[in-house]
Amino acid sequence: MSAAHWRRAMNTQSPGVRVTVSAQAPVVQSTVSRSPRYSTPAYQGTGWWSRLWAPVHLRHWVVMAMVLLYPAVASPFFTYQIGAQSLALGLIALSLTFLGGYGGMVSLSQMTVAGLSSYLIAIFGTSSMQAISLGWPWWLAVLFAMLISVVFATLIGWLSIRTEGIHTIMITLAIGVAFFYLTQQNYVLFNGFQGFSKISAPIVGDVDFTNPVAFYFLALACALGGYGSIKYLVRAPFGLALQGIRDNPRRMNSLGFNVTAHRLAAHAFAGLLASVGGILLVWYNNRVSPGSINTGALINILVIAVLGGMKHPLGAFIGAITFVLLQNFAIDLVDRQRFNLVIGGVFLLIVFFSPDGLLGLWHKFRSRWLVSSTASAPGSRRS
């Protein structure tokens, strides 16, 4: 939630509350939010049903219809290579957006967590390496992969939250690269340089998830779940406290919030999202090797998150689509091997001129050219 959102939320409180709310105290906001009175006018429906649908606007329906109808109009290539890959990568980037944008902890090891869960799917499930793979049923493999990845993410969090800000990037990068070297050197568990191949998505009942359209919908469901849970979480007491900690850890600490526990929980939740993304990615690629978690891959997730914008969960997916499109079509414009130059250049441009990513660019554009139309739009509230 951006500062502008906060201000808007502040101003829509009832006058009695507003007296106690200082201009820059998200802390107070979070305590207010716990009281049953917390509700912006848009949420004051008559029953739970209308309250549930109140935050859903026309634009949500339009986007929903678009993503649902997408496989019907797009070719299997676009559905699978562009659509499903963007959703899987977006989910991993989303975990970084949650940590970085709402928790203030930019972690480069989200791809490492995703990579671990990819590896675990290969180790627990079936792959070409029968000597290592245990051949468990897919649901058990998925369950354990997610469980272990979340524990791993929590451990990374435990290490990295001992430091702050810029140190966090360094430590998570070091952890990520160390894990990369481990998978490359270890043959007993990770099968070294080769990694695993022939890992396919499961067949559940009548649905074969190796089919592009079915897999697209699986990825879409996971992505929507992740997006929705973050949208919910950042308005729940936990998310509000987390944002308070991002803005001022010392003040939150003196107010009695357990800063360490909140940060750790954020890491665990982000780990869950990343591990789901990793599972989707290994089913998408059908293989996993140290190359999928090398420094380039770690940085790519950061590029995706920053490209889209870390202020809103939607940014992760916008960044992922842009990234995947560039990856697939930039080679038509430049030499095939110069993709890194293109993506690095785009990344530099974005960081230089729009630190809030493409979403920030859109907001700038909207506030400059479309002010009058947004003022009367149903979604906006008076400020």
């Binding site: 430091t163 810029i166 360094m170 070091a174 270890n186 043959y187 940085i299 950061l302 130059l341 250049g345």
Partner: protein
């Protein structure tokens, strides 16, 4: 000595010295050779990481393009060495080219984004991607090696281990000289005084009439130049190829995390620990050599979150 530091030393130093004793009695030659190799690697790491830690200490800026500066210096040094045939000129060229590039980055990028830590870091990541690809484009994926002059080429005889490459001893000496020079610069000169003052309180230094931007540029040039110098020196000891930038970036990251951000002696201690751990790991447990590095980092972080010599405030 605080309890954290005490626990750290007990957990790290005691098992290590026990292992060292075992290694010494098991196979003296292997042990000493690995020890010397570890010192060589530590020297390289120290040269790279001292620049990194200096820049961080003064500007609070994690320059993730530091590995690229290393590689740029190495490649430029190689071109100069190839055309002039002089290794010393190559070292000089490596230092100067990286220093110039570093100053350019400082002026174009960091001066415009003062105080925006995260954005600066992101820019350096973008720069490292672009620079790595440009270098791959121009120099290709081949492996480049340097020809050191005859007087440091070959082997020399040492007690117990009979033969050891002379050049590796030279690398160790270079690192010691650089360390002493840095120490002299920081503790004995006016500029060093200003740099140290800047590390402690930038605002106050600026308020007392010092041109902080010039100090920043100078420090950045020095740090970047050291990376470039390490490129040529390290390229001679090992080799130069794409991907070395990430390797040395990771090494300096870990060294600086272990040793303490912004402390040159800390970088020396960190480099020693990591270099020795890597070489001993490769000699005694090849599959898990990276795990040793990692374990050291975890122990350091768990007990000394700001590094062995980091400030506790």
């Amino acid at each position: 000595m605080s309890r954290g530091r005490l626990a750290f030393w007990w957990l790290l130093v005691l098992p290590l010295s026990l292992l060292a004793l075992w290694g010494l009695f098991d196979d003296v030659v292997l042990f000493l050779k690995t020890f010397l190799n570890g010192l060589t690697l530590a020297s390289l790491y120290f040269i790279v990481a001292s620049g990194f830690t200096l820049v961080f200490g003064l500007m609070r800026n994690v320059n993730l393009a530091h590995g690229s500066l290393f590689l740029v210096g190495a490649y430029v040094g190689w071109i100069v060495g190839d055309s002039t045939g002089s290794w010393l000129l190559a070292v000089l060229a490596g230092f100067i080219s990286s220093a110039v590039l570093g100053v350019a980055i400082q002026i174009v990028v960091f001066r415009r984004m003062q105080g925006e830590d995260l954005r600066q870091t992101l820019v350096t990541i973008g720069l490292s991607i672009v620079l790595a690809d440009l270098m791959l484009w121009y120099f290709g994926g081949e492996i480049y090696t340097f020809d050191p002059p005859a007087w440091i080429y070959g082997t020399m005889s040492l007690p117990i281990i009979e033969k050891f490459p002379t050049y590796r001893i030279v690398v160790l000496l270079i690192a010691i000289v650089i360390g002493l020079l840095l120490w002299g610069l920081l503790n004995g000169t006016r500029i060093g005084m200003m740099i140290r003052a800047g590390v402690d309180d930038r605002g106050m230094l600026s308020a007392s009439g010092v041109n902080v931007q010039r100090i920043f540029a100078l420090t950045f040039a020095l740090g970047a130049g050291l990376a470039g110098l390490a490129g040529v020196v390290g390229g001679t000891a090992l080799s130069i190829s794409p991907g070395e930038d990430t390797r040395y970036l990771l090494a300096s990251l870990v060294v600086v995390i272990v040793g303490g951000m912004g402390s040159v002696p800390g970088a020396a201690i960190g480099a020693l620990l990591i270099g020795l751990a890597e070489q001993f790991g490769q000699a005694y447990a090849p599959t898990y050599s990276v795990v040793f590095t990692f374990v050291i980092m975890i122990i350091a972080l768990a007990f000394r979150p700001r590094g062995v010599l980091g400030k506790t405030t």
